[in-house]
């Protein structure tokens, strides 16, 4: 990014692959900050909710009283959820139904491709890109419903896998596990343009 000051972007570090996201953000030109408590959200320009196990993250969020602070942060600043993070940002969660932050008007089905054996790496083309992206799906969810204000940026087998709504963005795959920084740069553009 050309701006003189590197954007500070938090990575929710309760569980999951927050370390890989921190490295991916640094490669894309941001300053990553690990977030484990409400105080860590101060002064952040954006936040990544990483992949991991969504019900474990949800329990830790509830025990640590972080649900409301995250919703509040999402009303002001961009959040990017990948895999489990996508599940936490959704309005509705299926298989089984569970609580979520409800910051994006999407419905998500957990473990929708099946068990670990169905995890896979796929090539897909995101909107505005002239080269394929490598998308790593690990026990991934499927976005079953998108609201009117949600824009689909990429699909795999017909299902949306990269979507945005306003300042927020969601991927059902793991862009942090490849060396390709394009998806993280897309999010950092949102961070740069929103306030």
């Amino acid at each position: 990014m050309s701006s003189a000051v590197r954007k500070k972007v938090g990575v929710l570090a309760l569980q999951g692959d927050f370390e890989a996201h921190g490295k991916a953000l640094a490669r894309a030109g941001a300053e990553p900050v690990e977030v484990r408590s409400e105080g860590d959200l101060q002064d952040l320009d954006g936040l990544v909710i990483p992949g991991g196990e969504s019900s474990t993250m949800l329990k830790l969020l509830e025990i640590e009283n972080l649900m409301e602070p995250l919703r509040d942060f999402g009303r002001r600043r961009p959040i990017f959820g990948t895999c489990a993070g996508a599940i936490l940002l959704a309005a509705e969660v299926l298989n089984p139904s569970q609580a979520s932050l409800g910051l994006m008007d999407i419905g998500v089905e957990r473990n929708a491709y099946g068990r670990q054996l169905e995890s896979r790496i796929a090539q897909l083309r995101a909107e505005g890109q002239d080269q394929d992206l490598e998308a790593v799906f690990i026990r991934a969810p499927i976005i079953r419903r998108v609201g009117e204000d949600v824009k689909v940026l990429a699909r795999y087998q017909g299902d949306p896998v990269l979507v945005e709504q306003g300042r927020h963005m969601v991927a059902t795959f793991h862009p942090e596990l490849t060396t390709d920084s394009r998806v993280h740069r897309m999010f950092l553009e949102k961070v740069a343009t929103s306030g």
């Binding site: 570090a13 309760l14 569980q15 370390e19 484990r36 474990t56 329990k59 830790l60 025990i63 099946g114 068990r115 670990q116 054996l117 026990r139």
Partner: protein, 207 residues
């Protein structure tokens, strides 16, 4: 063969464990031919890299399973972390001899020398029974932890499981660790590994 049956069951991963009686006393499974990921135990860097060369997707330090004694888990994690650190300060011409010393493939030795870590996640296991044990091995360099009997043989497994998960997240925050350690009831009844005979140890299985 059991691994093929587990794969057909669509389990999420297989632990090629030293705890059950191994069917083959010399060889490990060629894990590259499986689609299901494997986690394997290791006591030192050479064991870890040999398992990775065979196709392991995750490594866990062995510790001493079922003991509730953290000392072996600490020893194995310290050994692996120290051996990785030592590689990072060596020159490229020294790595071939290191490959021979660790009995591990040169490409993996070169990876560790460059990155200072294993190319797969490094778990700690074998003897973790309290939130403090969990935080300790995380501070030593574990990226995650496995707990079995430490939870299931304790007086209140549900509360202890939650507390150990919390300790793994907040391993650097003593106030949160204190909260996690409160009102757990007695831990599992531990075995002092130093008092076990060599033949009773599980960790010495495999090579």
């Amino acid at each position: 063969m059991e691994a093929r049956i587990l794969e057909a069951l669509e389990v999420d991963y297989i632990d090629e464990s030293e705890v059950l009686t191994p069917a083959d006393e010399e060889h490990h499974i060629d894990k590259r031919n499986f689609k299901v990921p494997f986690v394997c135990g290791a006591r030192n860097l050479g064991e870890a890299l040999r398992r990775i060369a065979e196709g392991a997707a995750m490594i866990r330090t062995k510790g001493e399973a079922g003991s509730g004694d953290i000392v072996e888990a600490v020893r194995h994690m310290r050994t692996i972390v120290k051996e990785m650190k030592q590689l990072t300060v060596l020159g490229p011409e020294e790595l071939v001899a290191e490959s021979k010393r660790h009995q591990a493939p040169l490409e993996l030795i070169q990876y560790v020398a460059e990155h200072g870590k294993l190319p797969v996640p490094n778990f700690s296991a074998g003897g973790i029974a309290t939130p403090a044990d969990a935080a300790l091995v995380m501070q030593l360099g574990a990226e995650a932890i496995f707990v079995g009997s430490g939870i299931f043989k304790s007086s209140d497994p549900e509360a202890r499981a939650k507390a150990i998960v919390k300790a793994a997240t907040y391993f650097n925050d003593p106030v949160k660790l204190l909260e996690a350690s409160e009102e757990l009831g007695p831990a599992m009844f531990g075995i002092d590994v130093a008092k076990l005979e060599e033949s009773e140890l599980l960790q010495t299985r495999g090579w």
